[in-house]
């Protein structure tokens, strides 16, 4: 097995351990199709339990009511990818946005991103989050789908250090290491996913 394949496997294994859903795709188009499938299935199922079904105080409840139809947000993609994903969304009747996250704080269905790099030994991907839209999209979405190019996977965090340094030096910078979905164990140490951020994390390993 070559090193690239080994690291991809390690990445898949470690990310899986922290409840990320890992799949492999051959092209960005395939990634878009996957994302729309997830979006479709989401409709087929119940709305993911994001708290809106509970009894809430008036203020928080109002924010739930403000939740609009189905939306995929993908800020920060290259122009042709925006075009392709936008068209794919339109074809399936799903809303598509690349900005204006602040008017969707109640939540969007899917945030779609492409990672800068990844750390296989912990199943982590590195997201350049300096764009406020991108940062918000990955926090207010209920499902985060992130494409990780296999060529960008390294084994340890020290191997992405130089890259991280460049991102930090090119200030203002905001870099995120993301490993699994948002979680807490603050009540009786019982694991609960999705306390603030995404309820599900999908990683698409892109063979490039």
């Amino acid at each position: 097995m070559n090193d690239k394949a080994r690291l991809a496997d390690l990445m898949a294994e470690k990310a899986g351990l922290v409840s990320a859903i890992v799949s492999r795709v051959k092209s960005l188009d395939e990634a878009f199709a996957y994302t729309l499938d997830v979006c479709d299935k989401k409709e087929a199922c119940q709305l993911l339990p994001s708290g809106c079904e509970s009894d809430l105080s008036a203020g928080a409840g109002a924010l739930c009511d403000a939740k609009l139809g189905k939306i995929i947000a993908a800020p920060g993609l290259p122009a042709e990818a925006v075009k392709a994903l936008g068209e794919a969304c339109a074809g399936r009747g799903v809303g598509f946005i690349t900005q204006g996250m602040r008017s969707h704080l109640a939540g969007i269905d899917i945030g779609f991103t492409i990672a800068e790099a990844a750390i296989a030994e912990t199943g982590t991907f590195v997201l350049d989050s300096r764009s406020e839209e991108l940062r918000l999209a990955t926090m207010i979405c209920e499902v985060h789908v992130c494409v990780v190019p296999v060529s960008a996977i390294r084994e340890t965090s020290f191997e992405v250090e130089d890259h991280l340094r460049e991102l930090c030096q090119d200030a203002p910078g905001y870099v995120a290491f993301i490993t699994g979905a948002s979680r807490t164990a603050d009540i009786e140490r019982v694991l609960a996913i999705g306390v603030h951020g995404p309820l599900e994390l999908h990683i698409l390993l892109l063979e490039d």
Binding site: S54, G59, T124, A171, P172, I187
Partner: protein, 720 residues
């Protein structure tokens, strides 16, 4: 949050905590689960090497604290961050209050920051009429309850789902059930609304990286990302100890911190923020960003030759996770704001003597914290050191002063023990235990029988049993410790029997006295040093190859404690300075000597296959790192070794600790004995007369038939 005014009040609170069933069960489950998940997380890694690297890097960084601050400031300011330095907690709070006022802030969201807990920031901001909402779930829960955290990583670990449900019912005005997944989602929604409204976000900082002017944050919930993104002002409140030269340092710590904290390979989010980025809710489209560094004694600590190492702490909380006392009483009783072993120390420096003086006495010196600290901080020693400082400042309690005085004179001490023997008859009732102690000595001690003083101390028996060895293959000088000398001389005798068989000459220097650990534990530094020096001088290093002791506590104190206590200069006695190192090098515990040096063989013993459990004394397994030798010796001696659960957890003796906190000591003993009894063993072996005193006493009181012996006794009995 520990606020008791005196020891009596503190003990009252401890009793209360012991009676809290939910807390006890939660803490037990946590302690057991943590052991497993930590071990799993570090599996296959060179943990010691990692700890060494972290400690070294941290020490180097802290020695350059001011310089790193300047570097960070230059880098961060170049990007438009305003960097502040607050001398005290109050000053930090005022700075943040002014930032809020100037920016016209009304509502604030916060992500978790122990530093903000330290400065009691929320109180200050609320007094200014600002609305502050904690967004970390645990922090939010305790904020709603108006209480402090009970754990540095899991602040609400002391609460049940039903208590949380009740709280959330109040907040939402709707009845909430005790379903954890649902409760978490309720928090998700309630807090989402808060982020949307807030004008200012306050975060802590796990790292302040000087080379790039970056603040790095580790969270699992992701709340720090929202806190630092949605509001138009971001303030990071960071202790000066979080300054670190490079990204490499941060990445190294991140390898260890989450693993040690919760058994995770990494936290769900690690966020690296460099400079104020875009912010659509700000009029000019750009975030206003401040970093407030807190000194509050850190700069002084960095220069303290003894205590500077506490600045290595990365706040992983592990020292609480493994502490047997924390496990019994919980965080409100085991810290003021910072919790666990490190809390006992930091409370003194950050919150003052008054808050620390009771807490710091409640450490049984088991070393479990030190063994897991990713900063490699010598926590138990520093806890004692704080205790000693407080006593020096406040005056020493009569009891500990007296003990110090008595121990300083070996003759007086031994005369006292001898006269105690003479008068004990009426209270032993002819048994080997003290049966009818006068009330003032017996208070709370009923959980275990205390042994009587032996008829003839070991020092008086030695001449008659001294082996006559010609051309010995090794020369050993015995250090008995008080307990074996005056209470259990038969244990030392058993050892002599085994040594003689192996052609080892044995000497017993008569000028030796108590090892001094009891006075060290009581904060009597001066007496502790004086006794140590006497003992070192009592041994003629030219005439012995090893200094052998059967007491794990003495062994670890002699070996690791003495060089530290006597210090590099030995108070102007350079001769002693050189000797103490050699002395320490020669110290060895019984099991290691017999197993590693004499390499005894099964053929030397009559095997009877009796079922035996083992208790690993704290000062042997962690203090000296000896784990294999005694267990293998049990097999060599022909016993069937039955492993017990939590074999290496403290038995609750802790010398003077069990006299001061009998209720806690009794609880620890109860757990220990239950685990032993579960094995079905008929024998319980260990390597420390102190532990034997505790274990035997407990079993005798219970009327259990399990027999407790020193490994030496079990071996000597089976010698062919």
């Amino acid at each position: 949050m520990q606020n008791a005014r005196d020891l009596k009040e503190y003990k009252g609170e401890l009793s209360g905590a012991l009676g809290n069933e939910f807390l006890r069960t939660a803490m037990d489950n946590f302690a057991m689960a943590y052991r497993v998940s930590r071990a799993k997380a570090f599996a296959g890694m060179d943990v010691d090497g990692l700890v060494r690297d972290i400690a070294q890097a941290k020490d180097q960084a802290m020695a350059r604290m001011d310089e790193l601050f300047e570097e960070f400031k230059t880098q961060a300011e170049r990007q438009g961050v305003t960097v502040h330095l607050a001398k005290t907690g109050q000053e930090a709070n005022e700075i943040i209050g002014r930032i809020a006022e100037k920016a016209g802030v009304k509502r604030i969201v916060k992500s978790k920051s122990m530093t903000a807990e330290e400065t009691l920031l929320n109180h200050h901001l609320e007094d200014l009429g600002l609305e502050v909402t904690e967004t970390d779930l645990g922090e939010w829960i305790i904020q709603l309850r108006h209480e402090g955290p009970t754990h540095m990583v899991m602040p609400a670990i002391h609460l049940s789902r039903y208590q949380v449900a009740e709280l959330f019912s109040e907040v939402t005005g709707a009845r909430q059930e005790g379903d954890i997944q649902k409760l978490v989602k309720v928090a998700r929604r309630e807090l989402r609304a808060k982020y949307a409204q807030a004008e200012m976000g306050i975060s802590g900082g796990n790292f302040a990286i000087a080379e790039t002017g970056t603040i790095a944050l580790c969270t699992n919930e992701g709340n720090a990302r929202l806190v630092t993104t949605l509001p138009r002002v971001h303030v990071a409140l960071v202790g000066l100890d979080k300054l670190t030269p490079t990204l490499t340092d941060a990445l190294r710590v991140i390898k260890a911190l989450p693993r040690n904290a919760t058994g995770q390979a990494i936290t769900s989010y690690v966020t690296w923020i460099t400079g104020p980025g875009e912010c659509q809710s700000s009029p000019d489209g750009k975030k206003e960003m401040h970093v407030v560094f807190l000194d509050n004694g850190r700069r002084k600590l960095a220069k303290d030759p003894v205590f500077s190492q506490v600045l290595r702490c990365v706040r992983c909380g592990a020292c609480a996770n493994v502490c047997p006392v924390y496990r019994l009483v919980g965080g409100h009783q085991y810290g003021h704001i910072y919790i666990g072993a490190i809390g006992l120390i930091l409370t003194y420096f950050y919150h003052g003597r008054e808050k620390a003086k009771n807490l710091v006495q409640n450490c049984i010196n088991c070393g479990a914290c030190k063994a897991v600290c990713v900063g490699g901080i010598d926590l138990p020693r520093l806890i004692k050191e704080v205790h000693a400082r407080i006593q020096d400042e406040e005056g020493h309690p009569l009891q500990s002063q007296l003990l110090g005085m008595v121990l300083k004179s070996r003759k007086m001490f031994h005369a006292l023990l001898r006269s105690a023997k003479a008068v004990q008859k009426p209270v032993t009732g002819g048994t080997p235990y003290l049966r009818h102690l006068p009330m003032i000595f017996a208070r709370g001690q009923g959980f275990r029988a205390l042994p009587a003083i032996a008829e003839t101390p070991f020092r008086d028996r030695f001449e008659s049993i001294k082996p006559k060895v010609k051309g010995p293959k090794l020369r050993v000088a015995l250090f008995s410790g008080c307990v074996q000398d005056f209470v259990y001389p038969e244990q030392a005798e058993a050892a002599v029997k085994i040594l003689a068989k192996h052609n080892v000459s044995v000497d017993f220097p008569l000028d030796q006295s108590c090892c001094g650990l009891p006075v060290q534990m009581m904060g009597e530094r001066e007496a502790s040093r004086s006794v140590a020096a006497q003992n070192v001088r009592a041994f003629d290093l030219d005439s012995c190859d090893y200094i052998l002791t059967l007491c794990a506590s003495c062994a670890s104190h002699l070996k690791h404690g003495y060089p530290e206590i006597l210090g590099p200069d030995c108070e102007g006695d350079p001769g002693l300075a050189a000797t103490v190192r050699q002395f320490a090098d020669r110290v060895i515990d019984f099991s290691s000597f017999v197993h590693d040096v004499l390499q005894v063989e099964p053929a030397e013993f009559r095997a009877d296959g009796r079922k035996a459990a083992y208790h690993a004394p704290c000062h042997l397994c962690r203090g000296l790192g000896v784990t294999k030798a005694p267990r293998e010796l049990m097999a060599t001696g022909g016993l069937e070794y039955l492993p017990a659960e939590e074999e290496d957890v403290c038995c609750g003796f802790g010398g003077t600790y069990s006299m001061k906190f009998p209720e806690l000591s009794a609880e620890l003993l109860k757990k220990k004995l239950a685990n032993i009894e579960k094995t079905g063993a008929e024998l319980l072996l260990t390597d420390c007369p102190g532990c034997i005193m505790q274990l035997r006493g407990g079993l005798a009181t219970k009327g259990s038939p399990i027999k407790v012996q020193h490994v030496a006794e079990a071996l000597a009995e089976r010698l062919r």
